[in-house]
Symmetry: C2
Subunit: 144 residues, 2 copies
DNA sequence: GTTTATGCAAATTCTTTGCAATACT
DNA sequence: AGTATTGCAAAGAATTTGCATAAAC
């Protein structure tokens, strides 16, 4: 039950996205995979400690350029990186809403079926969308 | 026809939000009002030139604290500030989607009726939401 | 052996604050 | 006079780059 429906063979994931496998990249990828939610640079630095921040940064850029992660903005502190589960390399069809908890400052993924498609006015060409909710997560709304 | 449905008496707007009227604040407010779309610090600095950036910054904070603007994140470069048209000082009910053009890097407001309410899983407490679309705006999708 | 990845340090950029001078009431 | 606002300068924080070393192929 601790396995996701997708493979967690991180080596394979790197290979599928044409990214050379290194120990560091596996660490970053695993951190993102086990977190199960989008992580910021600061969060990754906290989790990984052994890797220099510049390398984490470059690793994330490599992942982004090869469609292994996408980048989301949750309005907290800079951006967050999240594993890209869709395998389409074109339009970003792996869309779901994110919930940013203003208390613990974590960002969670919400079920994707809750994302409604907008009706765009004439002339706009949509590439991606980012639906961000803010408030308190279940853990934090319980606490007083 | 160049007037919005709301008043553009900026002095009055400041007064209604309990903000003392100064020449600089009127300039910032007017810049936001005439832009008609959310502006970043950099954009405001570009438009206003005569005011120091630290003062623009503090002015925007004052506006935010008094519910004259809200702050939105559009994933470009930091945050943007947008005139708050609703007069409720509680929950942020002045919600609409924003469209960020990846070419000209401007952010536009979309009609608010296009914002769908999400169905949140148990336990989440919603404070605000931010619906951001990205792609090309009408002006830019025309250009080659 | 050549190319790629990594760590360290520093450059860059952006946001935020300290403080003295100015303007307002 | 007293309080609030402003500009300048600089502190802080985060992202990004240069470069020499180390690792991978």
């Amino acid at each position: 039950m601790d396995d996701k429906c997708h493979t967690t063979d991180y080596t394979l994931m790197l290979a599928e996205h044409n990214i050379r496998v290194t120990a560091n990249r596996l660490l970053v990828l695993k951190a993102l995979g086990t977190a199960g939610r989008p992580l910021s640079m600061a969060e990754l630095e906290g989790v990984i400690a052994t890797i220099d921040k510049s390398n984490i940064f470059r690793t994330l850029n490599t992942f982004r350029d090869n469609d292994l992660v996408h980048v989301i903005e949750d309005g907290s502190d800079g951006v967050r990186y999240e594993l890209c589960l869709s395998h389409s390399h074109g339009f970003d069809d792996d869309l779901h809403a994110h919930f940013f908890c203003e208390r613990c400052r974590k960002t969670f993924c919400l079920p994707s079926n809750d994302i409604p498609q907008p009706s765009l006015p004439q002339g706009y060409k949509l590439h991606s969308l980012n639906y961000l909710l803010k408030g308190l997560c279940p853990a934090c709304s319980g606490k007083k």
